[in-house]
């Protein structure tokens, strides 16, 4: 079975896994390729297995080539990209699009040039998301699980090295995975390649932003840099690709037209004499500090991945977006401790904006040949008169501080809104009532209306006037603002995100931070809302149900974490099964719901 991972054409088991993959088109393509290449096989006696493997490879490459974008930005040079959705979203490198600004053109192997617009930027990870315009049926490739990639796996790159793709058909270079989980140092605080994939396929200037594909034509990474030596900027057998798992972690944030930032623990680590990785310094303002981590604590694992070297630590952290909550395991004088830490950002938004404005020259970043480049309007920079945005682009670009292209944040927020509305179904807008038992005994009753929110607990009754500021008193006491969280939840469902204070699309995060799927199978949408004196982050699952509300009544205090176990599938607008309310490491309560109404039937 190990082989079926390398290619879907291996043994019988493998073949089955090929059929499972949604690609009858692929099988047709293979047949075609065999037909095309087979006839000449009569010329000489070659093992049929060799010809078959070749034909299959050709078919896979033909399919992947169609997803390769040749990015050109006039005199700004260009690079490569790879389409990841039928509506034209394409991943590339920050250092490729930065000089181009918000408008560029993308060429596909069909020989056509498409207008493209900048959507999101991740300078720290050297990633950018652009959108090709004009079609909703672009060919695209899927992101594989890069943690399943092994040293020695066959792989290939499709891109635009040295901008040779004058006919817009990408250059293909093949090789093997030379190393996994590599760490390549950043330039300053940006362009850090953490947990990246090293390949011996030729990666040259201009390959930047192009896809690195596995033998099944799935994206295992985005090529971004290479080690260059004595010969100047040409390939010498060591290219590096940003792992697909990292890309997936940031895709939501990028789609939101944001300037994305990477995570920091708020602590630096060093390897002790005995090789353990220990905290060498830690900020008292960090969540890690609040969770109890201190200098000299040994980091055992982070986000579910073991940490044995400083590189391993950087590799984990470097693939995580700012703001995620992840489990950390550490050891202090022999005792093993666990905690959930909320990761902060490496930069402030202001710093990121400055970086984007200034632009980036990667240390070894394969870029086009580097002819003098004309700088277009970078994000943050206003489009200059000389570079009037094309009509098609102007329609999908909106500048706003903190965003690379606010237009797409609205697009994503509205998508989530539709999901919430669908989940709400026909429920009326009356008061919400939820009754049930606390798991430690005793009963509770919650009522939330437009004017007031009340909760009856064995310990007493708390009330919150929902017409005014919600941060007046975080009630019930010790919850950090459970009632306010319930109010935000109800407003989002009843009025829709657009109508609730300043609500924007933040990106995605694991539905349950305690166990993160590195392959991102568990990512849910997250909205950020600021209303009536509070700030909240609200997680919405694929069914449009709100599964979590983190609510801050003051920025530097621990938020109230209202974790919602939604109604079972099928029961639209059904009652949630339970609440788990936490504050920092403290569990405030677990509410088992057995009755009530979410607004009753529609009037």
């Amino acid at each position: 079975m190990i082989f079926s991972l390398l290619t879907p054409f291996g043994g019988t088991g493998a073949l089955r896994s090929c059929l499972l993959t949604p690609c009858d088109c692929l099988r047709l393509a293979i047949l075609a390729a065999v037909v095309l290449i087979a006839p000449r096989a009569v010329a000489i006696d070659v093992d049929p297995a060799v010809l078959e493997a070749e034909a299959k490879r050709v078919a896979v490459i033909e399919r992947a080539s169609a997803t390769a974008v040749a990015i050109f930005a006039g005199d700004s040079g260009g690079g490569s990209g790879v389409l990841v959705s039928p509506d034209g979203y394409a991943l590339t490198n920050f250092h490729v699009v930065e000089p181009a600004g918000v408008a560029m053109t993308g060429g596909l192997s069909d020989g056509r040039l498409y207008d493209a617009v900048l959507v999101g930027l991740d300078p720290t990870g050297d990633v950018a998301l652009v959108k090709l315009l004009g079609r909703d049926d672009f060919p695209f490739a899927v992101l594989a699980d890069s943690d399943a990639v092994e040293q020695g796996d066959w792989c290939f790159a499709a891109g635009n090295p040295f901008l040779l793709a004058t006919d817009l058909v990408p250059s293909i270079s093949a090789g093997i995975v030379s190393g996994t989980h590599r760490y390549q140092f950043p330039a300053g605080t940006i362009l850090e390649y953490a947990d990246c994939i090293q390949v011996d396929a030729a990666i040259n200037p201009g390959n930047s932003g192009g896809g690195l594909f596995d033998a099944a034509g799935r994206i295992i990474g985005v090529n971004g840099r290479a080690s260059f030596e004595k010969r100047g900027r040409v390939n010498v057998g060591a290219g590096y690709a940003i792992s697909s798992n990292q890309l997936r972690n940031f895709l939501g944030c990028l789609k939101g037209g944001r300037l994305c930032d990477h995570a920091t623990l708020g602590a630096t680590v060093a390897s002790a004499a005995d090789g353990r990785v220990v905290i060498s310094d830690i900020l008292e303002s960090s969540d890690a500090w609040r969770r109890g981590l201190r200098i000299d604590d040994e980091i055992v694992s982070l986000a579910g991945r073991p940490v044995r070297t400083v590189n391993a630590f950087k590799n984990v952290l470097g693939t995580l977006p700012s703001g995620w909550q992840v489990p950390i395991v550490y050891r202090r004088n022999g005792r093993r401790e666990e905690a959930l830490v909320r990761l902060a950002g490496v930069h402030t938004q202001a710093e990121l904006a400055a970086i984007v404005g200034r632009g980036a020259e990667p240390p070894d970043g394969p870029r086009e040949d580097g002819t003098p480049r004309e700088r277009g309007p970078g994000p943050g920079r206003k489009p200059g008169p000389a570079r009037e945005l094309p009509e098609a682009v102007r329609a999908v670009y909106e500048a706003r501080p903190g965003f690379t292209n606010y237009h797409f944040n609205v697009v994503e927020r509205d998508r989530v809104s539709r999901g919430i509305a669908a989940a709400r179904g026909t429920a009326g807008k009356g008061p919400w009532v939820l009754e049930g038992k606390l798991d430690e005994g005793g009963e509770f009753r919650i009522e939330v209306s437009d004017s007031v929110a009340v909760i009856d607990l064995p310990t007493g009754t708390s009330e919150l006037d929902t017409t005014g500021e919600l941060d007046a008193s975080p009630v019930p006491p010790g919850s950090g603002g459970m009632l306010a969280a319930l109010v935000v939840w109800r407003r989002l469902v009843n009025d829709g995100p657009a109508a609730v204070g300043r609500t924007t699309y933040l990106g995605t995060a694991p539905v349950d931070p305690r166990q993160i799927d590195p392959a991102g199978g568990d990512l849910v949408d997250v909205l950020e809302t600021a209303v009536a004196g509070i700030e909240a982050r609200v997680a919405v699952d694929l069914r449009g149900q709100i599964v979590r509300v983190d609510l801050w009544t003051s920025p530097d205090a621990d938020p109230c974490e209202l974790r919602i176990t939604p109604a079972k599938a099928g029961e639209t607008a059904g009652l949630p099964q339970r609440f788990d309310v936490w504050r920092g490491a403290e569990r405030f309560g677990t509410f088992l719901i057995d009755g009530g109404t979410l607004g009753g039937a529609a009037p």
Binding site: A41, E62, F156, L164, P170, G384
Partner: protein
Amino acid sequence: MNMKRFASGIMATAALAALLAPTRATAEPTLAEEAAFQGAVARVAAAVVRIEPLALTAAAGAGVAEAAPGSGPSTGTIIAPGLVLTTSFAIPADVNDAVVVVPDGGRRAARVRSRDRSRGLVLLAVDGLPEPPPLGEVPRARLRPGQWAIAVGRGWSAAAPTVAVGIVSATNRAWGRGVQTDAAVSPVNYGGPLIDITGQVIGILAPLPAEPAGMTEGTELYDAGIGFAVPLEDILAVLPRLTTGESLDAGILGITYRSRDQINGEPVIGSVRQGSPAARAGLAPGDRIAVIDGHSITRVADARHAIGPKHAGDAVAVTVERTDATGKASRIEATTTLAAEMPPWRRAMIGVVADAEGDDAERGPVRIAWVLAGSPAEQAGITTGDAIESIVSGRNAGATAIEGRASAAGVLAGVEPGERITLSIRRDDAIREIEIDTIAMPGDVPTDGPPAASGGGDPLAGPLNAVEVVKLAGADIADPAVAVIPTGTGPVGVLVWAGIPHGKVAEAEAASWKAAAVRHGVAVVLVGSAEPAAWSRSDIAAVTRALAALHARRPIDATRIGIAGTGAGAAFAWMVAERLGPAAGGVALVEAALPQRAVVTPAEPAAGWWVLLGPGGDDAARDRVAADQRRLDKAGYPVGLMPQDDSDAPPAEILCRWVSVLGLL
């Protein structure tokens, strides 16, 4: 290692292996493929010969570390009885004899029969060649990216063919002349066959230039995973002609495009060379190419792909759309025969400099900022502030409306020096027609130049009475270049100066440039060398990045970029100019002549630098300078002599003045 112990182990191998071996095969038939590689190579081995460099052509090993490889044993392919095909890497243009080592080790004298210069191929006639089995051919139509591509050569060893394995990377590169592979291609296998897994020949490996990357030698990318082969199909199509001794050249149409962006750029003709096939076909500046030989053309690149594979003498059918001054659109179809070369192009001028154009310039009538003393323009009474609205030249039927400096230059590019043109000039809101006899560009730098204001004109910025000295930092530039930039916000000309290499540059070195930079509104970029005492190829990239960094902070007048250097810096300046191509307006080799390996291609409307040389100290040096001056003039370049200057300071004044007039019309 204890052999006895090992031997005892071997005996038990089979048994143990049977116990431990996995039962299934791998997805990649690794060993079967290995056997296939060797089988395929064996199939063509007899046709692959070694080409040994004659002492005469054997250059001493490559100079700087990054330099392209020099000579060395290379490869040829027996393409027909008595005929070996190889490349111009092994047999440079000035060489006619070669020594071929056949597979059995015997040496044969070879003579150049003919060349296909469009693809860098050379056909050798060799007596006493063994007759190899005929080569199988992979038709272009059957090429697929991803299929096996094996590069075979004999450069390493005459005894056994050398093997490099890769895949077909792309099937239509080098403007339609080449197949691209990621197999290792280098001087050792140039001229050898690129074969598929069955031993059929895809093409002949050749150092085709990676032109979109500004790599003109074709060897820069050796072993870098980007190699090219000329498809055998294309070679066989012209082999009969080559066999008769006819040499083939690339076909030239004789036009340039208005847009320098060949990927996105619209296929609008910028200039038509006098006496060119395009001119004979009646093509004119402003025409939009719609169809070439039945291929519809929407981008400059489409046009180049359509013409790229053609040879001189081939016919080409071009359909253009033309809008005349009255706005009437028409469609013109023309057929013409491509030429091998143009008579050297000479830049015609009337002697004016237009307002500097930055990125955001209005592409309208051209306002005149300065008139050259004694020029036809002055004699015709043209003065500063006049605006050129349109030009009528003998060549193009109607008047060409002028939209920005480029279109004016385009019209002049199609004008023979001495030819009369008619300008319609707007002055004080009155239009007047003025006839002017053009003259050829002068070589020497005029004694004055445009006022600085036109180099950086921006009323809001106030008078240009100061400069700022900045480091053009960039994350990947360890020792950033230093720039002297006149204050202001308007577009500036740029002078790149490469002195005696001495590692990084210090801000202090900027001092001697400030005055001239201000006077002429020219930004001066002082570049450092990566190596302590030598210029290297990597420094070229540093220059282009420095220009990018400068451009990021200040608009640049693209028509006024001059590259200058002295000593070792002069040779470097020439390399930089070669790298920038048309992006550079001039090259100044101070106290120097052309570098040894300099290639002087005939001037083109899109690429005709204004070159300054010398003067050179002793007589020998002066003779060389004089010779190079003739050589450049013959090729159509405006070329002038630097005045004698015994001071140690760089000739800032004259160089900045020169840059300020690079855009002479």
